[in-house]
């Protein structure tokens, strides 16, 4: 595909399969074999299962605040699948599908949401940065990683994410401008899920879409149906290839919808209509891809049921493995601020320990 065939100034949106699962642009079906297709679908189902289980654990009081990805699985899995082994992923905090594709173990993910810092310590070789809670701040890191690649003459690229709300932040604009000026090999994905907590996308910007903001920074921008995994994969792959060739950054707006709450602390009925949510349920990316795969005899209902069951068990097993033994080691609170612990920290640790042990 060619990015320039979809003009964000005219609000054109790239789509390969329509919401009913039919191929709209037949020659845009990516060249992936059945195993690859099954992997993608399985990862979307995995993402959904992890969310649903986390939400149910949360309701049972077994999980802390959790930010679900419901409805955004295609945007995450499709985009991240375009990377090569050595590429970087720089997430915000709602990128579960992308983390899984890039090899982040579920144990890390659950540990993180369960309130233990070790969740952010990735296994060796997983080039995924920790969650960045301050909105849009991570984009600068992505741009800088790419700038370093240029200086070191390395060919790997950086994929980074932000929400629609994040595009209002100064950090977003500064990161895009730097990336463009320094031809940083970065692909910026905006997961436009239409809300930033209660604040509608319409309140964030009067720009007709977000993709067109790229123009002012002198980089390509493309508006993509974020619930269409093939469109997300193709557009991101094209942008990643550009970056790898030294042609600089790209902005991709994944037009999607947050089917769930912002986090488990949020009640979306306070600010949006059920009817709107119902409309988007019909465009569920998992339904869409499932229809396509069934239609093309890649999977059948039995495979889907089996896979869901298997994933459900895996998720349950992983959660239970961390549930009772994930309290933070006291020393860990102190140990990781510097290579060597300063005396004042050691003293505070010692004093506190002696308090715990029953006094001086």
């Amino acid at each position: 595909m060619r990015l320039e065939d979809y003009n964000p100034m005219k609000n054109e949106m790239y789509q390969v399969i329509d919401p009913s699962g039919k191929a709209k642009e037949k020659d845009h079906i990516p060249d992936l074999d059945d195993e690859q297709l099954k992997y993608l679908f399985r990862t979307m189902l995995y993402t959904r299962t992890i969310d649903e289980k986390a939400l149910s654990y949360q309701r049972q009081g077994r999980m802390l605040t959790y930010a679900p990805n419901l409805g955004q699985e295609a945007a995450q899995v499709g985009s991240a699948y375009s990377l090569d082994k050595e590429d970087w992923l720089v997430p915000a905090f709602r990128e579960l599908g992308a983390w899984l594709v890039r090899g982040v173990p579920l144990k890390n993910i659950y540990l993180y949401w369960y309130g233990n810092e070790w969740g952010s310590h990735m296994p060796d070789g997983v080039k995924v940065l920790p969650v960045s809670v301050p909105i849009a701040s991570q984009l600068q890191h992505a741009t800088g990683i790419g700038m370093a690649n240029n200086i070191k003459n390395e060919k790997n690229v950086v994929l980074t994410y932000v929400g629609d709300g994040g595009t209002s932040h100064g950090d977003f604009h500064e990161a895009l401008n730097f990336a463009s000026v320094f031809k940083s090999p970065v692909v910026f994905i905006v997961q436009n899920n239409q809300y930033a907590i209660s604040t509608s996308r319409k309140v964030q910007t009067l720009s007709e879409n977000i993709a067109l903001k790229a123009t002012a920074y002198g980089m390509p921008g493309i508006l993509v149906d974020g619930n269409d995994i093939f469109a997300m994969y193709n557009a991101t792959k094209t942008a990643v290839d550009r970056a790898r060739k030294g042609e600089g950054p790209t902005l991709i707006e994944a037009y999607t919808y947050r089917l769930g709450a912002h986090t488990t602390s949020d009640d979306p009925t306070k600010y949006r209509d059920d009817a709107e949510v119902e409309e988007w349920r019909k465009k569920d990316p998992i339904l869409r891809f499932g229809e396509y795969l069934k239609e093309n005899n890649v999977v059948d209902d039995e495979w889907i049921e089996e896979t869901k069951k298997e994933l459900g068990e895996e998720v349950k097993k992983t959660f239970e493995s961390i549930e009772d033994n994930s309290d933070t080691e006291l020393e860990d609170i102190f140990k990781y601020h510097f290579e060597k612990m300063p005396a004042q920290l050691q003293e505070q640790l010692d004093e506190y320990r002696s308090f715990l042990e029953g006094g001086k």
Binding site: L64, N116, V133, V203, K270
Partner: protein, 326 residues
């Protein structure tokens, strides 16, 4: 008529009162309009006073504070919200470079009657950046007032005073006790003067200075040591800057001992300032080393380590005993 409110409800009522009393008061920030704030501090303001005066903004703290500077220059009294104090840093430049300096820079031509509200502090089992206590960071900046209430009554009266104050006030709200208890308070507007501490309890043996969510914890500790015959004077500082120095200087002259309890890290914190003042002004009255019990000089831990960070009532009680026994 009984008006029994929690801290968060008292804050909402203060905003309601002042929007009614003064139509130059405007309230805005992320999710404050339609939703009424993620903690519901601004609930119903938009319904009552309209979208012009209570509204949602794009997600950008620097612009929220920076536009408030402009509004204040142009005759309004903006009360803006940082969703969490941990997200005030994108606005740090505006706060330090402009909010704090405009009056002095213009030799009094422009003053900024604005308030920046933010929930702060730990103990709510939250994600990263949702638990810190960084009052010292702001209290050190010349030109800023920093206020922290600890009860519904104080929250309302101090917020109204902050809104009416001709200068910028950072109003940091202890989110851990937003809903911890209720208190009967007047329904109409009232002011509690900024810069005045409150003696919560008089005592003879030791002075404890604290604020925010540590106040109820200190009160618990004080009950524990009371049974052991220790008589404690408890001061709720209420305004971190400018500080009511006389409150604790006079108290230490009487008790001869002082403990400062805060949630924020120890080193270069507000406790260090209080103790320096005591050393300068009441040194000859001291019978034990002035002491701090605080959070560690570490990043606030995620929930699985949180219980270690905030000084517990038991630790406070133990520290009181150690000082009195010194």
């Amino acid at each position: 008529m009984a008006n029994t409110l929690s801290i968060i409800q008292a804050i909402n009522q203060a905003l309601m009162n002042e929007m009614k009393n003064d139509d130059t008061v405007v309230v805005y920030g992320e999710d404050v309009g339609v939703e009424g704030g993620v903690f519901r501090a601004t609930v119903d303001l938009q319904k009552t006073y309209g979208k012009e005066r209570a509204f949602d903004t794009p997600l950008a703290e620097s612009a929220i504070v920076g536009t408030a500077v402009g509004m204040a220059i142009n005759g309004l009294k903006p009360v803006v919200e940082m969703q969490f104090s941990g997200f005030s840093y994108p606005a740090f430049n505006q706060i330090i470079s402009h909010v704090a300096r405009m009056r002095n820079r213009s030799r009094g031509q422009y003053n900024l009657p604005m308030v920046i509200r933010a929930p702060y502090g730990g103990g709510i089992r939250a994600l990263e950046h949702h638990s810190e206590s960084t009052e010292a960071l702001y209290a050190q900046i010349p030109g800023l007032k920093v206020v922290i209430p600890s009860t519904p009554y104080d929250a309302k009266g101090l917020l109204i005073a902050a809104i009416r104050d001709p200068d910028p006030v950072l109003f940091w709200e202890p989110k851990r006790i937003y809903r911890a208890f209720k208190q009967e308070i007047p329904e109409e507007a009232y002011e509690i003067p900024l810069g005045k501490a409150k003696i919560l309890q008089e005592g003879e043996d030791i002075t404890i200075v604290t604020w925010g969510a540590m106040v109820p914890d200190v009160q618990k500790a004080v009950k524990m040591v009371q049974d052991k015959g220790i008589s404690t004077e408890v001061i709720d500082l209420r305004t971190i800057s400018p500080m009511d120095r006389e409150s604790f200087i006079q108290s230490v002259k009487k008790t001869g001992r002082i403990l400062v309890v805060h949630e924020a890290p120890k080193t270069l914190g507000v406790g260090a300032e209080i103790i320096s003042i005591v050393n300068e002004k009441a040194f000859l009255h001291l019978e034990a080393p002035p002491t701090r019990l605080t959070g560690f000089d570490t990043t606030f831990p995620l929930p699985r380590g949180e219980k270690h960070y905030i000084p517990s009532p038991e630790r406070i009680a133990k520290t009181i005993e150690d000082i009195v026994k010194y």
